[in-house]
């Protein structure tokens, strides 16, 4: 049980990082970004490229991959989303499904469909207070906490972070206050894509990389964002934790294979009972 909660926290950190971006994009760009999971995968594979192909140490590969993913996100926005921004959220949604498709198969084209890992060999888990944790998982946990705290500090303390929250609150007023909204949109992509890439790398470290990994994360990501009230970054973090814990604990009762379905069921229940999300959020 405690072991499952530990795994839940690790996985929850990964989901939260993805869901923060999703929720900010939903609020600031006003569409549900269905390619977000695949941005995670892109980040993970770019890290693989820098790690294996160029032989960089993992930390360096990860940093370069995060930056490259952010750049790719901005490019995708300019190329596909920006020209469609005036046509309304549903067309953007379809477009993001198309982008998801393209990203996933570009990955498959370059790296193939077979699962890959950053590092071969089996790690011997540490035993801490009777709980098993692999060193890499400990790293993930620490990094996830640091990143969540980092995002919190960024949104809470920096001018850009505050402006981003201001945009999410009231776009028109932000424009009237002289906030450059196009620039903030770029920042939103930078933040969302970097966090997604980081989450993807962590997921790859914890398990393995597969081209479909992003697609499979999409449901937990959306479930977390919706649980958090779609638009509230702090809600998304809490939502991610709840989803991950529920998925891990569900294995006590159900077949492990059904973990992904748990997030779906939770989401549908929430939509039935409290469509505005668990943590307020405006209707």
């Amino acid at each position: 049980m405690a072991q499952l909660i530990l795994y839940g926290l690790i996985y929850g950190g990964i989901i939260s990082l993805g869901a923060i971006g999703l929720t900010l994009i939903a609020r600031i760009l006003r569409f549900s970004h269905f390619a977000h999971g695949d941005m995670m995968a892109l980040g993970a594979y770019l890290a693989l490229l820098f790690r294996v192909t160029l032989g960089l140490p993992m930390w360096a590969a990860a940093i370069i991959a995060v930056v490259s993913t952010a750049v790719a996100a901005i490019a995708i926005d300019r190329l596909f989303y920006k020209p469609l921004r005036r046509t309304g959220p549903t067309i953007l949604l379809i477009a993001s499904v198309g982008v998801a498709l393209v990203l996933r198969h570009v990955i498959q084209f370059f790296w193939g469909a077979a699962p890959q890992v950053y590092q071969r060999g089996v790690e011997r888990p540490w035993i801490v207070w009777g709980l098993r944790i692999r060193p890499v998982q400990a790293w993930i946990l620490v990094m996830a906490v640091l990143l969540v705290v980092g995002v919190w500090l960024f949104l809470q303390k920096t001018k850009t972070g505050k402006a981003m929250r201001a945009m999410a609150d009231n776009m028109d007023l932000a424009a009237v206050s002289g906030i450059d909204t196009e620039r903030m949109i770029v920042w939103t992509w930078v933040l969302g894509a970097s966090l997604a890439a980081a989450a993807g790398i962590m997921l790859g470290l914890d398990t393995q990389l597969r081209p479909a990994m992003g697609w499979l994360m999409l449901l937990p990501l959306f479930a977390a964002a919706i649980l958090g009230g779609l638009g509230n970054p702090y809600g998304a973090i809490a939502g991610g934790m709840i989803i991950a814990l529920a998925q891990e604990l569900s294995t006590l009762v159900f077949n492990t294979a059904y973990k992904p379905a748990v997030s779906f069921v939770l989401m549908v229940l929430l939509l039935l009972l409290r469509p505005q999300g668990l943590f307020g959020g405006k209707a």
């Binding site: 929250r165 999410a168 206050s177």
Partner: protein, 234 residues
């Protein structure tokens, strides 16, 4: 030279003109109040000046520079700030953060300016860490005005600052407008409560159906019986 000079302004939404050639001036140091019945185009006038509604004809000159057709981001940089009637604060941001957003385009330190605002609106200092969304309507209005003043504008545009406020708060807000003006900021405002608005204004304009109908000093307009008739037609 007038601070703001609007002439022959035609503007509106989609294909409908709401304003059919409005002219208006604000001299430096003035409070100017625009009154008129609902649907006269007061809000549209303000939004057109601030670049939020497309201008189809006419000119807007601010500090001697033609600003017709500029967007709000450029106009803000030229020293004009605007407080919309509704949704004029960032509800999930604290009071301090709201003010910081007001000064967003200022590269430098905003602390001193913020202290000035706290001096002008002491209540905001007490509640500096409170989320703006949890404040009363009157307090939100003060947050909104303070946010707009953070940039040290030459001209402040206020769209119905007392709308929806209790008489006590409305009076307080108008007192603050006078105080702001005494600190050297010119004010152009729309006021639903025409008498109260005109009472604190140097000059006023009466607008009906997108056209100028009367202009005079605030006190003369207050006393003018025709104003009432214009409000209720006929």
């Amino acid at each position: 030279m007038a601070l703001l000079e609007v002439s022959g302004l035609r503007a509106g939404y989609a294909e409908v003109d709401i304003l059919h050639g409005v002219q208006l001036t604000v001299q430096a140091g003035e409070i100017v109040c625009v009154v008129g019945p609902n649907g006269a185009g007061k809000s549209t006038l303000m939004k057109a000046i601030f670049g939020l509604v497309p201008v189809r004809a006419g000119r807007i000159v601010f500090q001697g520079e033609d600003i017709t057709g500029l967007g709000p981001a450029q106009i803000v940089r030229r020293g004009m700030c605007y407080v919309p009637q509704n949704n004029n604060v960032f509800p999930s941001l604290t009071v301090e953060e709201n003010l910081e957003m007001g000064a967003f385009i200022h590269p430098g330190d905003f602390r001193q300016k913020m202290e000035e605002m706290f001096e002008l609106f002491p209540i905001l200092k007490e509640r500096r860490r409170q989320k703006a969304g949890n404040m009363s309507g009157g307090q939100q209005q003060m947050v909104a005005m303070a946010r707009a003043l953070m940039l040290d504008p030459k001209l402040l545009l206020l769209d119905e600052p007392t709308a929806g406020l209790s008489p006590k708060f409305a009076e307080l807000v108008l007192e603050k407008v006078v105080e702001i003006n005494q600190r050297g900021v010119s004010v152009l405002m729309i006021e639903q409560n025409a008498r109260a608005g005109l009472a604190i204004s140097h000059r006023g304009y009466v607008l009906t159906m997108g056209r100028n109908r009367l202009d005079d000093t605030g006190h003369n307009l207050m006393a003018n019986e025709e104003v009432g008739r214009l409000f209720l037609g006929g």
